[in-house]
């Protein structure tokens, strides 16, 4: 089931756009994540695809068929909600069977599907309980079971894991991903959590300011962020964005006197924004030649996140492997140098070029993404 969004827009008041110019194609069997900060319109977009909210502009096609004006039940899809949306007065079994009974399926077929769905989410023994007797994670699994019991090939999920605690979230993440793969579902998954999107999705759509910022695979988005918003949104800790001026004589981007970035030819203006991931700096203790002081340090066991204030006034976050065994002291003087990849954005925030080399001592981004995905 391919889903095609053609220049979709939504306006509630006729003046301002909640969503504007959304165009993309979602492949059959694809895990497609829609990511963005709260209020960016991602849930609205999902509800427009579901048919729960009308579309102000544009067209939606499922398998080549225009469904823009079809009611939800004729779009052959299921939906899982953030707050589960279970019927409190029905048992787990009846909750899972709810949609099937509406489609006038015969009782045996319903039983078979419900059993199968409950088995898939490991809730077989809980069939006769009421939702209130289940934990949050179990309730969400009932909601997932309800979605997979139907024969719909498209599944929409609206922040299904954000009510769960961190540990459970991690577990459900891989469970949902496995189910989607196993059943070959076309999944549209809305989340505000970049880690969820990175680890689960085949492709990600980043929404912000009611527009698409970028669509791409997790790797593409991490390695080639289209603009500063995407660059900052993906990756923990956040990418450092520093204002820099281009010095044509040195062919360098200068942040301040003591922090400069080499760049290729072809720079055509004076001011840029340099984006550096926290792993893209090296930090050395140097008494004579220093350009920053330590503001704060957080130990995470395998690494530390160090906040430094550059002499030019900018604050940066740097991750440092704890093998270096630093004893970070507040106000300690340090020498910060670029190391590895950095990004050059123009003044409007658009990616202009990528600089540096990835064969430094820092962990490369590809490696980081791979670890996160595991």
């Amino acid at each position: 089931m391919t889903i095609e969004l053609k220049n979709i827009g939504k306006s509630y008041d006729g003046n301002s756009w909640t969503l504007n110019g959304i165009t993309t194609e979602i492949e059959s069997g694809e895990f497609f994540a829609i990511v963005g900060p709260s209020g960016c319109g991602k849930s609205t977009l999902l509800r427009m695809i579901a048919g729960l909210i009308s579309i102000s502009e544009g067209k939606i096609e499922i398998d080549g068929k225009d469904v823009t004006n079809l009611p939800p039940q004729d779009r052959n899809l299921t939906m899982v909600f953030q707050n589960y949306a279970l019927f409190p007065f029905l048992s787990v079994r009846d909750n899972v069977a709810f949609g099937l009974k509406e489609h006038k399926m015969d009782a045996e077929e319903i039983k078979r599907r419900v059993d199968e769905a409950l088995d898939m989410v490991n809730l077989t023994e809980y069939g006769d309980r009421k939702p209130r007797d289940l934990s949050g994670g179990q309730r969400q699994r009932v909601a997932v079971a309800r979605a997979i019991a139907s024969d719909a090939e498209i599944c929409l999920m609206d922040e299904p894991l954000s009510n769960l605690d961190a540990q459970l979230r991690g577990k459900m993440r891989s469970e949902i991903r496995m189910l989607q793969q196993k059943l070959g579902l076309t999944m549209i998954y809305v989340t505000h959590d970049q880690v969820e999107a990175m680890t689960m999705a085949d492709r990600i759509m980043v929404l912000h300011d009611s527009k698409i910022q970028q669509i791409g695979t997790p790797l593409e988005i991490y390695n080639h962020p289209a603009n500063t918003f995407v660059a900052e949104f993906f990756g923990t800790p956040r990418m450092n964005l520093l204002e820099a001026t281009y010095d044509a004589r040195l062919n360098k981007l200068v942040v301040d006197e003591s922090l400069e970035f080499d760049c290729e030819d072809g720079m055509d203006r004076d001011d840029y924004i340099v984006g550096v991931r926290p792993s893209g700096f090296s930090v050395e203790k140097a008494a004579d030649r220093s350009n920053a002081r330590v503001v704060n340090a957080e130990y995470l066991g395998n690494m530390s996140i160090v906040e430094l204030e550059l002499d030019g006034g900018d604050e940066i976050r740097v991750t440092v492997d704890d093998e270096m065994n630093h004893d970070w002291m507040i106000n300690q003087r340090m020498l910060v140098k670029p190391q590895g990849i950095f990004y050059i954005f123009d003044k409007t925030g658009k990616l202009f070029a990528k600089g540096g080399s990835s064969n430094g001592t820092s962990r490369s981004e590809e490696e980081f993404v791979a670890t996160a995905a595991r």
Partner: protein, 274 residues
């Protein structure tokens, strides 16, 4: 949440509560007690008489139309309750789940009728009923109360608490409005429906003014007016028997409250959404 109270505070609270319950319960106990006493003892004021018997009850059932009154009231109250549940829940559903122009204005109009005391509507209602030739029938006591603004208001508030996601999930399943109403809304609002049922049953059971104006024969007269009737029919009031009748009349009220209370469990809708 349970409060931590000092012993002194707890004792003083209990004393106040005990005094209040004595104050409230005394008339009831007194009424029940006198219903077992012969009228002669009651009128002579000897309340601590030992001539206790069920004679008054037997008397009431044999010599008065109390059973007929009970039956009439039962028919009227059950019909009123049933129709109020149906019509109030349907209109409340419309006010919450159907989007139409002037919805809020219409609801405001609904609420406005609540501000009007029933006494103010008595005369126009009476005139209407007389025109329709419905005086002295069951209909005259049921039709004006088929729906109530209060019931609609109460259920609307309750339906509004149904999570929007349940409606969306049902829309995705393809539930029609009628099915969402019967399969989701009504079960979800079970407690409120029971509350409304008890409320409308009791208010119908305790009606006095309206039936007094519109019924003229024992065939249709409900209990409260029947009780009044017992007093004036005889030259000499048989107080023991009247007390016994009153006690009989109270029994259904107690049953409704008892059943109602048992089902007013809270937390029944937990687990729908986080």
């Amino acid at each position: 949440m349970e409060e931590v109270m000092s012993k002194k505070e707890r004792i003083s609270r209990y004393v106040v509560l005990c005094l209040l319950s004595v104050f409230i319960l005394t008339p009831f106990v007194l009424g029940l007690w006198t219903s077992f006493l012969p009228t002669a003892d009651i009128s002579s004021g000897s309340l601590f008489s030992t001539h206790i018997s069920l004679d008054n009850y037997v008397n009431a059932m044999k010599n008065t139309a109390i059973i007929r009154y009970l039956l009439n009231s039962l028919v009227i109250s059950v019909l009123t309750t049933a129709f109020q549940l149906i019509f109030c829940s349907m209109s409340a559903y419309a006010f919450v789940f159907l989007k139409f122009r002037g919805r809020n204005f219409l609801f405001g109009l609904f609420l406005a009728t609540m501000m009007l005391p029933f006494e103010a509507e008595v005369i126009p209602n009476f005139a209407t009923m007389r025109q329709l030739n419905l005086l002295n029938t069951y209909s005259v006591m049921v039709v004006p109360f088929l729906t109530s603004a209060f019931g609609t208001f109460m259920l609307r508030q309750n339906f509004k608490q149904i999570p929007a996601e349940l409606k969306e999930a049902s829309d995705v399943c393809g539930l029609s409005h009628w099915k969402f109403y019967t399969k989701v809304t009504l079960p979800y609002a079970k407690i409120s429906l029971l509350t409304l049922a008890s409320y409308s049953f009791l208010s119908s059971w305790n009606q006095y003014l309206w039936p007094m104006l519109t019924t003229f024969s024992d065939k249709y007269r409900p209990v409260q007016d029947g009780l009044r009737q017992l007093q004036s029919q005889e030259t000499f009031n048989d107080w023991g028997m009247i007390q016994a009748s009153a006690a009989i009349v109270v029994i259904p009220t107690l049953i409704v409250l008892f059943i109602g209370q048992k089902s007013f469990k809270s937390g029944i809708n937990e687990g729908a959404v986080k």
